[in-house]
Amino acid sequence: MKLEGMHLQRMLRGQKRSERVFKIVAGGALLFALVALAILIIDVFLDGFRRLDWQFLTSFPSRKPERAGVLSALVGTVYMMGLTALLAFPIGVGAAIYLEEYARKKNWFSRLIEVNIANLAGVPSILYGLLGLELFVRMMGLGRSVLAGALTMALLVLPIVIIASREAIRVVSPAIKEGSFALGASRWQTIWYQVLPIAFPGILTGSILAFSRVIGEAAPMITIGALAFIAFLPDSPLSPFTVLPIQIFNWVSRPQKGFFTCAAAGILILLAVLLMMNAAAVFLRQRYQKRLYL
């Protein structure tokens, strides 16, 4: 069975060839994904950047594409995300603290929560919309308001905030906690004075990224009935509202070509908002990472 001279050389040459071919195919697959990303961004940019001006930023939606703007959608997005953060951030961090610091011994309760969070993260967002529609809009009588939207979004973002915060809390070295306990501190004192100050930048970074994930969600907002045509700014948590993704969806769904340009411009603004949030997260991480590992 020994491979001799010619046969061996032929086999090795064949292997080299398939090696080269595969490298090109696999590298090509990777390139395909990266090129798709580039084309997507360039395409939207070329379609929309001419429409981006002060008028577009400061106008309400209009029946005429050239007079339409994103003001109400932009303000609605900021308003809703603010409310969502107020609701989801403390609860998410609280749950993360519980799971990391209190539920160390695995009992049925913490197992239940863990399995549940893992599964919630995989539930399609539109189903949160159905929950929000029935629970907040109908049963709690909040109507199609910013508050109903924010509550829905809060439930949607909660699993991601919890997962991100847990990772940040887990980084805190047990030595610091033991040191605190050794001085007679209670569990909560240890968490409040030692764990949270160290974990906070990480929690914040993770949470900002989590919020940037849901800021582009349109599906649950459509089901709870956010409207696209809002010619005023939300003035209370109970006023009707729209958000950027809905406004974009609305424009894409119109037959007139002019609105496609508006959609592209709206997308650029949405992407800019996302970019700013991600930049903030990266900045926070860079700034505090060094201190953490001193």
Partner: protein, 327 residues
Amino acid sequence: MQLTETLPLGRTQEGGFGFSKSKVMPSFPVSSRRNRQKVREEAIRVTLASCGFLSVLTTLGIVGVLLFETLAFFREVSIFKFLTDTQWTPLFADKHFGIWPLVAGTFLTAAAAIGVAMPVGMLSAIYLSEYATDRFRKVVKPILEILAGIPTVVYGYFALLFVTPLLQRLIPGLSGFNALSPGIVMGIMIIPMVCSLSEDAMYAVPQSLREGAYALGSSRLQVALKVVVPAAFSGITASFLLAVSRAIGETMIVAIAAGQQPRLTLNPTVPVETMTAYIVQVSLGDTPTGTIEYKTIFAVGMALFLCTLTLNLVSQFLRERCQEQYE
């Protein structure tokens, strides 16, 4: 150390631990301070635990709401009709409630998405895990992750106004709304997920197996395809199932680019409607609560929930098994 010599076990006459309490602790009664602290600690623990429990309530809420309205739906429409009728026309005068057209639309778009995401994601994962240098990986992975962070409406726009016109040049007769284009775009969106989950699974394959294969004279490609991929199989299957779950739950891309015509077909070039797109369609109209149209979206939501939950659970099970395998 004198104390321990005179008094075994380090005890003093007062019964404390080697030193008199009054010199170290404040003079007020310690026990009442400890008690107050205990109550406070317990209150905090319960508060934090209820934060965690809220997530369980969310699941119960989703299940409850879906179940409640779905049962109401099935009081008016028989389950038999739901599963056997071949038309879905709840918004017309002549109402039919057969779920299959929506399932077909969902299946078609998801199949196209998987057709793109699986090969591209897997090959990218093999490239990153078996061929690329660490530095290359560190640069490329975050860029790839951007794909997963782009809002789905943006992909919808891209599918409708870039990919569909492009495909129409290649496939004459492709209609403006179709299953193919949003499917492909959805696939692009899922690539990073498939890639990073598969790569994790391949990364978990112990180096000793690779060395064993190299020592037998395998080429890099043979190691990758005959040892690493089979060893990582359950993790790769998990990423596949999760990708399917993502694809059938994805809403905006198909709502924008696939159309709103429920149709029992396996032809990817004609307009279809997915389960998610139907929910959007009804939500956009002003459908009063309590009507049969209103209930249909919950029934469809329930079907969607059951599909994705099953896929997610199986996927999670496989991933855990994959982790255990090499511990």
